[in-house]
């Protein structure tokens, strides 16, 4: 997965990568050659007392140093360019793909998961790439080069590597195998502590009202002790790891001198080579450590890559038709013709054989219990889902035969959860119509019963709105969300139970104003509260996915038993007479 993803997204950078590899090879070779030169200084200069040789070799070494450093800096430059660039490309690709997702695709992943995939997962890949582009190239060259040169310096002595390298790999490997699961469990325990604390903050009223401070303190103490214990174990393993690795490095040097010393004294190896060999063995072991570090990041990056690929490989289930039909008329006429809808894999349909027409200029209301399919019905109109059978016709054309953008242009949606975007009150209101004038905004605000609080906000239309609209109250958010749909002035309005946070008086005023504000459009209101919809021209009563009643409030009171029940439960017996 990781390989496939990287192959695709590194392709545009293949020249840079080739260049990068050349630089890294040059850098590594240079670094490897320096000890060799040092050996020469000792063998040919120091031992023979040749000062001139020492000096001239020194100059060569200096030149190598400069070349190596320049190579390294340029390599870092390109590694950063490529890693960050590829990361940005993948991010953009994921984001663009998700933009084309239909609601079903969104639900398949879940919003939270998609956010993580588009942010953290890509960051993981980027981090890995940055490491891999340098270390993954350097480590093997350094290791192989080091081994070759070590053999060149002293073939017999190189057998030491057969002991030291596996030993190093085993020590690091053992530490990782031991520590990584502990790390995960430590993270789980940190999450647990944070969860307890979060609950203490969000539940402060309940905790105090029920006088449960002590039991909360106990819960925390348990979590805290648990975390402390695990953290202690992890850190103690780490306390062992570093000294152990250093010990292997150092004892290798001792061994080199011991065995190498014998070779030197027998005359089968020049003494200068010994110092070079010492440096090589250190470099080989360091490259093993580097390789292991990259290897740690690999599984995480691979898991992230898989999650990113899943998004990129998803083909949206709802797509534009090949030969779109443009509706000639944008009257706002919506008709359902024998519409049945069921979620894939489920046996029972959510909506069954619905047939009705929503007329322009009329307010239609949909009422019914939870799970009766109200929101699903609404979602079929903007084609968030496609009907399983039957057809939904908007402005005279089947929604599946229109371009999605054309369809959406005629719809004003006010969802159940009022959601605002970062920006200002004005930028949110202009969401559907960027060129709306201030006058148009204020008119919409007035209809939505929001002009009072917006004029009281400092900056008014320029007042800032936080992400999600969290800096205004729930009721204000709902009203702004209604005003946003009004500014768009579409021919079909879909209000999905969006009056719930308003008190009854505001609710009533808003509905009265809405009537004049949406004159020629079709208006569909989904609601739980009878008082919100009792004045609608037509009320559709849904029960278990079927239409069990359709008509005005008074008609339904007389001939629709489920409606009668709802009215009695909400408004009392006397309201139902």
């Amino acid at each position: 997965m990781l390989v496939r993803l990287l192959r695709r997204y590194l392709r545009p950078y293949r020249r840079q990568i080739a260049f990068l590899i050349v630089l890294l090879v040059a850098q590594t070779v240079g670094n490897l050659y320096l000890p060799n030169l040092n050996a020469d200084i000792i063998n040919n200069g120091v031992i023979k007392g040749n000062l001139h040789y020492i000096l001239s070799t020194g100059e060569v070494m200096l030149a190598f140093t400069v070349v190596v450093s320049v190579c390294a800096v340029i390599a870092v430059y390109w590694a950063s360019r490529v890693a960050m660039g590829a990361g940005a490309d993948i991010r953009e690709a994921v984001f663009t793909r998700v933009q084309a997702f239909s609601t079903r695709d969104m639900n398949k992943f879940g919003t939270a998961s998609l956010i993580t995939r588009n942010t953290n997962d890509i960051q993981q890949i980027q981090l890995f790439l940055q490491m891999a582009l340098t270390m993954m190239v350097i480590a093997p060259i350094m290791c192989v080069g080091g081994i070759i040169l070590a053999i060149h310096e002293g073939a017999q002595l190189s057998t030491l590597l057969l002991v030291a390298v596996p030993l190093m790999a085993i020590v690091i490997g053992t530490v990782m195998v031991k520590v990584i699961p502990q790390f995960r469990s430590m993270q789980v325990k940190i999450d647990r502590i944070n969860e307890v604390l979060r609950e203490q903050i969000t539940g402060v009223r309940v905790i105090r009202a029920f006088v449960r401070n002590n039991s909360e303190a106990e819960r925390f103490a348990v979590a805290n002790a648990d975390l402390t214990g695990t953290a202690l174990r992890v850190n103690r393993v780490f306390a062992l790891a570093l000294p152990a690795m250093m010990m292997i490095l150092n004892l290798s040097s001792v061994a080199v001198l011991w065995f190498g010393g014998r070779l030197v004294s027998e005359g089968s190896m020049p003494i200068g080579n010994l110092t070079a060999f010492l440096t090589y063995i250190l470099q080989i072991l360091l490259s093993v450590m580097m390789a292991v570090m990259v290897a740690i990041l690999l599984p995480r990056a691979a898991a992230s890559a898989e999650r990113v690929e899943q998004v990129l490989d998803t083909v949206p289930v709802v797509a534009d038709p090949e030969h779109p039909i443009n509706p000639t008329l944008r009257s706002g006429l919506v008709s359902f013709e024998h519409v049945t809808f069921s979620y894939p894999g489920s046996e029972r349909p959510v909506l069954e054989d619905l047939t009705f027409t929503l007329e322009p200029g009329q307010t239609s209301a949909i009422i019914g219990g939870t799970g009766s399919g109200k929101t699903t019905l609404l979602n079929l109109i903007p084609r968030f889902f496609d009907a399983t059978s039957g057809a939904i016709v908007v402005n005279g054309v089947d929604v599946r035969d229109q371009r999605q953008e054309t369809l959406w242009a005629s719809i004003g949606l006010v969802p159940q959860a009022a959601y605002l975007f970062t920006g200002t009150v004005g930028s949110n209101l202009r969401f559907g119509r960027p060129d709306a004038t201030d006058e148009q905004l204020w008119r919409a605000l007035e209809i939505a019963q929001a002009s009072d609080f917006v004029s009281a906000m400092s900056g008014m239309l320029e007042a800032p709105i936080d992400q999600g609209g969290t800096n205004v109250s729930g009721g204000q958010r709902q009203r702004l969300s209604i005003a946003r749909a009004l500014v768009k002035a579409p021919s079909v309005y879909l209000f999905d139970d969006c009056f719930s946070a308003l008190d009854a008086a505001t609710d009533a005023r808003l509905r009265a104003a809405l009537k004049s504000g949406t004159q020629d459009a079709s208006v569909v209101i989904v609601a739980q509260r009878v008082s919100t919809i009792m004045h609608a021209e037509r009320i559709i009563v849904l029960d278990d996915g079927r239409v069990v009643g359709m008509g005005s409030h008074n008609e339904l009171l007389e001939n629709c038993e489920p409606y009668h029940e709802i009215v009695v439960s909400q408004l009392g017996e006397d309201a139902a007479i």
Partner: protein
Amino acid sequence: MSMGPMGAMRGGGVPPQKSKDLRATLHRLLERLRPERTKLAMAIGLGVTSVAFMVSGPEILGNATNVLFDGLIGARLKPGTTKAQAIAMLRREGHSQIASMIGGMKLTPGIGVNIDDLGLVLGLAALVYLLGAAFSYFQGFTMAGLTQRVMSGLRRDVEAKLSRLPLRYFDSHPHGDVLSRVTNDIDNLTTTIQQGLSQLLTSVLTIVGVMGMMFWISPLLAAVCIVTIPLAIVVTLFIARRSQVQFTAQWSQTGALNGLVEETHTGHELVQVFGRGEATIDEFGRQNKRLYDASFKAQFLSGIIQPSMQFIANINYVTIAVLGGYRVASGLLSLGAVTAFIQYSRQFTMPITQIASQMNMLQSGFASAERVFEFLDADEETPNLPALEAGPYTHGPGAVTLDHVFFSYEPDEPLIEDFTLDVAPGQTVAIVGPTGAGKTTIVNLLVRFYEINRGRILLNGVDYRELSRDEVRSAFAMVLQDTWMFAGTIHDNIAYGRPGASDAEVVDAAKAAHVDGFVRTLPEGYATVLDEDASNLSSGQKQLLTIARAFLANQSILILDEATSNVDTRTEVLIQEAMARLREGRTSFVIAHRLSTIREANTIIVMDHGKIVEQGSHATLMQNRGLYYSLYQSQFTEATT
């Protein structure tokens, strides 16, 4: 080698911030370390010992090289002569260079490498390295223990602080901010202390030790190396400071981009229906480009620290090789000293880079520490009178009297003025008013979440101030609109109302709240685990569970918020019935939304703009034709006509 314990987890770190008062924060951190001072001293002692062993290693290895070199040269000289004779001979033959080198060596002409000596020296080196590693392990072990104890204590203090803070604190600080102080900041600080303290200690000790050794071996070469230390520091700081700026930019850009992704995905359908798809992709492209620029610069700048250090180290290496070669050749220095020097020069660029990278971490850790200390310094609730802590309060019948009560959240904005209300046991008080009228203020005062400014509140004839907060609160059961559940089973969430309740009592309470049937449809029944937001329950079901909780608590006074939103009609009926049953025989304060409740209430309190505007029975208030009258008209008549 910056793979510290949390290295993999941080993945680049927390957004770096700057602390405001470094000295004060440092002082307080040290204060927290004080109880561990013996352990800390021990750790430092172990660290010093370990570093001492480690830095003497190369010197000993250098001696081994000398033994070899001496033997090697010695073997070439004519056996049987003395060293002085050999030198004189060489000079005569014109090898004055070699002669002067031999002058500085310990050799016996004609004798080769003394393997016993070599073994002795190398054995010593191995021992020194083993001891160094062992002490380093002991030091790490000790540090791990002490940092964990300190951090565990800090977490405990923070948690204890939470329970001592007044409600005012939670209402006036965004939950996100409080949360981030007690979680993210603590985590960040833990990481800093855990890694930073130990590594900083080792880094500093290593630099000092290595420098000491270098001067001991050869002051001249050491002096040359010393020149490069300030160079290394200046270069590191120069680059680090610049990369720091870019990292900050990278983090704020990441934050901005994540925000955009979050809100676009959350509002996905809105973006589509309102035709904003392309505009959003464009905006994403712009932000993505900015993130790319910042992260490229950050990665590049931080990436060149390593090669720069390498460059300085290599310069050192060359200098030592050349200069050392000269000195050895002139007999002023042994070959072993040069090889030892090469190792030392490699050893000390590493701690310098490490300190530089720890500086960033330390900075961000200090900023976090400061935020945590700020939290710990927040004003606490006035303590209960000491005498009151003891002795459980015996429950009375549930009479509540508010006697000329004055209250305001802000000193200059009086809200409740001279409010008097007498509630007999079993009576119902309805609190009504438009959205945002401040109906919860009364609740806040009744359960003593806030303290009144003047007047008194009496519970069964006893002044609140003569009771502890817990005593007051244990007379109340509450059902709030905010249906708070904690991560745990349904059983535990209901049992929250009364510690030690039996299973049968929990089921009875659930039955009374009409939630038993629903719970039994769940595969795990009462053992079903709720996640933190109880997102596996509908809001109606959550509300029923909180009612069950109140049933179980079985207190004489009830506080009830009737508001239900996003509840389907059938559940609503259940909730209504359960609430009515809960009120039976209890003194009730109801934030009322239902006509029947309001009409039957003994007293209605009408609130508007945070103040109590009217008070009386339904009949009286209707006659007054005030706010209640108009509210009643607009809300309820429409529904009934």
